[in-house]
């Protein structure tokens, strides 16, 4: 509107002021035109309706400050000093700058309020009911957020499931690989003594017409030691099976650990002529409470391991002593040793250390040893350095609590 005479009509037809009023009254939003001293020059019905004001209280010609004060006092501008709120609004509106904001009024409507500078000073304020739009936008936003959260949650869940699946699959693969190795190595372990027995028998057959008694004696010795190796192997498998199914029974009785150790060393020495066993057993307690057969299995396993994993280091050290209510036996070899990474898994069934590559074994021996020792309320620990050898330390309590508990000198593991 260039002309200061408010509104123009074609050929002066009609009443310009009346037409203007009709136009602004039928405008779907509220309108309030202010002079530069904030006097309300023009208003429409919608203005009063949207702001919930009475036209009688704030007719054209009154000052907007009155509206501010009225609103401030009825709490439209929130808590706080009403006069302070009025001052804030006055200083804001007096800048006559273009601005736009939403306000939720006391009636619950959301009103978009705009201000535009009026040519010649003052401003035009317009008010639009945007309740439906804003509520829809909010709902949409909320919905979007909910959806995003849902998607995020589902994605996380799927990722977690995928991770779990991967883990299980890896585990499955690992177990399959261990079992495959176990089957291969078990076959290998049985075939080796069988090869000795069969080889010795074949040699006897070939010389049947010119055989000396020494020859027979030597070959029979080979056969017998191979058979006892197979029996040990079988016993290990049977015990492992019994332990797995909770069927292992122990007969706890007072026995001499020293005698057990000496028997096992003698047996091992007879099949490992190249190794030297150094025994230091003088400070062992005279008596422990244990299952003799199971203990022999423990030390047979530990001694044969010491020999097996130290093919080029002939010295094996076995020391026994008592300390802090327990009997301790250490078995030390200076053989291939174990990688630090492998140490925590050494007593796991079927596990074989990387340094055992090329050395036959099934991976059940140490697991069996640990289970037997634990059934005796004892402990087994391991120290090792790759390339320098290993030390296994077995400890047994001097008074076996299971003996006391079982009362009959017999207990069941499980």
């Amino acid at each position: 509107m260039q002309n200061r005479s408010a509104a123009k009509t074609i050929d002066g037809r009609g009443d310009a002021a009346g037409l203007l009023q009709a136009t602004i009254d039928n405008f779907p939003g509220g309108i309030c035109v202010l002079d530069n001293d904030l006097t309300m020059l023009v208003t429409n019905r919608k203005f009063y309706e949207l702001l919930d004001l009475s036209e009688d209280m704030f007719p054209v010609g009154s000052n907007l400050e009155g509206v501010f004060r009225y609103n401030a006092h009825r709490g439209e501008y929130g808590p706080g000093d009403p006069e302070e709120k009025v001052r804030e609004r006055l200083s804001h509106v007096r800048r006559f700058e273009e601005h736009r904001f939403d306000r939720e009024v006391g009636t619950g409507l959301i009103i978009e309020m705009r201000s535009a500078a009026k040519p010649g000073g003052g401003s035009v304020l317009t008010y639009l009911d945007v309740t439906v739009n804003r509520r829809a936008e909010q709902a949409l936003l909320k919905h979007k957020e909910t959806l995003e959260e849902l998607v995020l949650r589902r994605t996380e869940e799927i990722e977690r499931q995928a991770e779990e699946l991967r883990r299980l699959l890896d585990q499955e693969r690992h177990i399959n690989e261990l079992q495959r190795q176990f089957v291969t190595m078990t076959s290998h372990e049985f075939r080796t003594p069988l090869a000795i027995i069969d080889g010795a028998a074949q040699r006897l057959q070939r010389r049947r017409h010119a055989v000396t008694s020494e020859f027979v004696e030597e070959k029979a010795g080979l056969i017998r030691s191979a058979v006892s190796r197979m029996v040990d192997l079988m016993e290990s498998f049977l015990s492992a099976g019994r332990i797995e199914h909770g069927n292992m029974t122990y007969e706890f009785r007072a026995c001499s650990l020293r005698e057990i150790l000496e028997r096992c060393v003698a047996r091992q020495q007879s099949i490992s002529a190249n190794h030297r066993f150094h025994l230091e057993l003088n400070s062992l307690p005279p008596v422990v409470v244990a299952d003799t057969v199971a203990m022999e299995q423990v030390f047979t396993n530990l001694f044969s391991n010491a020999v097996k994993y130290a093919p080029a280091s002939p010295d094996i050290y076995i020391a026994g002593y008592s300390e802090a209510g327990g009997a301790f036996v250490t078995v030390t070899d200076t053989g291939v040793g174990i990688d630090t990474d492998d140490l925590p898994r050494m007593f796991q069934r079927y596990f074989r250390a990387r340094s055992s590559t090329g050395i036959a074994g099934t991976g059940i021996g140490l697991n069996l040893v640990k289970q037997i020792i634990e059934a005796h309320e004892g402990n087994i620990s391991l120290e090792s350095r790759k390339g320098h050898g290993s030390t296994f330390t077995v400890s047994l309590p001097l008074i076996n609590p299971m003996l006391t508990a079982a009362g009959r000198g017999e207990a069941k593991a499980g």
Binding site: H188, R191, T192, L194, I196, G199, R206, A273, A312
Partner: protein, 133 residues
């Protein structure tokens, strides 16, 4: 004189093999693992190697591969693997790599000696034809 190297970490098995093979008129050497065997092969240049697989230090597969890769002049020495590993994977690995044969323990000595005689026959034929290495 045909010389045969027996590579075997199990003393009892190695002793029986050496007894059997030397009684058949061959000169034998012994090694208890792949590393020892490699040294002996380089030093003594045997005609045939009878070799275990599962051994400490260096196993039979590794020994054979080492000779094929880094000792060209020795690569034609026939290897007869004699092992307690009866699975197909190990057999395939050895035969693919060029092993003369793969026998599993326990082995029939007649069969082992027949395989050795077969290698000897081929060697003698090669020598007659002037294909001496």
């Amino acid at each position: 004189m045909i010389t045969i190297l027996c590579v075997e970490d199990e003393d009892d098995i190695r002793n029986l093999l050496v007894e059997e093979i030397s009684e058949a008129g061959f000169t034998t050497f012994e090694a208890t693992n792949g590393k020892q065997a490699l040294e002996l092969i380089i030093r003594k240049w045997p005609d045939i190697v009878v070799c275990d697989i599962t051994m400490p230090e260096m196993n039979g597969h590794q020994l054979f591969a080492e000779i094929q890769m880094n000792h060209e002049q020795l690569a034609n020495i026939p290897f007869i693997f004699l092992t307690a590993l009866s699975d197909k994977d190990n057999m395939v690995t050895a035969l693919k790599a060029g092993a003369a044969d793969y026998l599993t323990k326990p082995v029939d000595f007649d069969l082992l000696m027949a395989k050795i005689q077969g290698c000897v026959a081929r060697l003698e034929n090669d020598r007659k034809m002037g294909r001496v290495f």
